[in-house]
Amino acid sequence: MNDMADDIGLLNRPAHELAALIRSGEISAVAVTEASLARIEALNPTVKAFLTVTPDLALEAAKATDDALARGEELGPLAGVPIAIKDNLCVDGVLCTCASKILDGYRAVYDATVVERVKAVGMPIVGKTNLDEFAMGSSTENSAFFVTHNPWDLSKVPGGSSGGSAAAVAARMAPLALGSDTGGSIRQPASFCGITGLKTTYGRVSRYGLVGYGSSLDQVGALAADCVDAALLTAVIAGQDPRDTTSADVPVPDYVGELTGDVTGLRVGIVRELMGEGIDPEVRESVLTVARALEGMGASTGEASIPHIDYALPVYYLIGPAEASSNLARFDGMRYGHRTKERAADHIEMYSRTRAEGFGPEVKRRIMTGTYALSAGYYDAYYLKAQKVRTLLRLDVEAALGQFDVLLSPTTPLTAFGIGELVNDPIAMYMADICTFAANLAGVPGLSVPCGFTKAGLPIGAQFTGRAFEEGTILRVGDAYQRATSHHTSLPGLLGAGG
């Protein structure tokens, strides 16, 4: 596939169209995968979305899909569609660094359940994407290896922590990607990069093989060109897994079947607290156009309230780091990963040097605050208090979702900021996620869809939050909105005239 113009046209299609072309035999899965790999080769040196590219693994899977089709086997709805995987998810035999020096050179020894599932439906894995180290950050600048650039404006961050996955899909280097979301890490980069991202209900998707950050908050989810693609990928990865006892025993509905385009009578609550101070006026206006569009389609809108949302940031930065300090205790340099070369007087010194050399500044900050919040004398004041306020926040969200079918808000208070702009002010960086924390703390699903552009040409995202296990409803609203608008089909200028 040397005809670049042809490749670009092909990959600008959403995943469901590519899959249909593959099933009908119009194009082979190998050709689509080669196009994706060629696009990565052309654009990754500029965008830097991938930490590892896996052409052999991808082409082997693509060939298997083509062979299955040739044998007359029925292919699944995403068979042959290339996918990028965030580098905190294990792919057997492939490097899994979590963008950390402490895991530099580490090769996963098994497949994450979500990886096993995308492989089983014939999706070629084209590579592992960059992230903030251990998924801690909002800009992908906390990667120990390099910064990922926003395809819409290379001087801007792609968001984070799933910034590599979001940038890969925005530049159509891969039609789909998997990310993880602990406090907004799928939705916030999806918003910054002008794509669709879904954080599922806690327990909807297995976390087996996801390197843990905040285990009561983490969920794996889809980054996609549109809601149809997000629904298709969610259907692949969702469902109970005996290897993750927190995965829920709840049947997986037909998400694509729920995309009826009909939102008549649907009650949409606009979250008052997320439409005021601190929200960029351009973002607010853009989100209001979403409300008006849905009204035009027969939905009703009203004002919703999450009174405790002001406390979401302190609650999140106590609970997330507390869980992280426990999860990251396993990195001790004994059985895998980095080990200090310094001669240590005892094992404690060896652990301490290994960890000091292996972890970056933000990861250390979170391990430290988490350790502090859990330490003797502070547990009740910090960790227990945060868990109680988490209850109040969860009850707020549940009450709002009793009054409304979905909640609407901006995904982020601001659009993509400049690379280097907030990197020396970690707490200002935390504010980038103030609209997304609540869904993780309450355990409910959240979806970000593109809803316009700033005057400067940066994408704006609208967030729909739904009831637990009602991903189908927020996907239906997002899809209905996308049927009526074209923001999600806009492509970055980077893709050139051929785009």
């Binding site: 098994y110 080990r339 094992h347 960890r355 972890f359 391990i367 004041a381 868990q387 109680k388 969860r394």
Partner: protein
Amino acid sequence: MIPVSVTRDDVAHVARLARLAMSEQELDQMHGYFEAILEHFAKLAAVDTEGVEPTSHPLARANVTREDCVTEPMDRTKLLANAPLADGECFLVPQIMEDE
């Protein structure tokens, strides 16, 4: 009661608990960060949580069990391949005690 300040010694103590070696400069920076983030944590003191149950987990699941069955262990060679130091059968760690 939520503490509103933390000393540099407190931070050094937490670094020891967290098994993180820190230079004097790093301790200074971490101390500055603690003071800033504690201001945000202190806001929680204003919330009345009398009688509120803590949420440790969004799912109300308890005592998830499975059949106790025999499965294949992971391949030793594959696992040892990631080790900083191994002898083909065991993980090797540096000596931490003096020879007798």
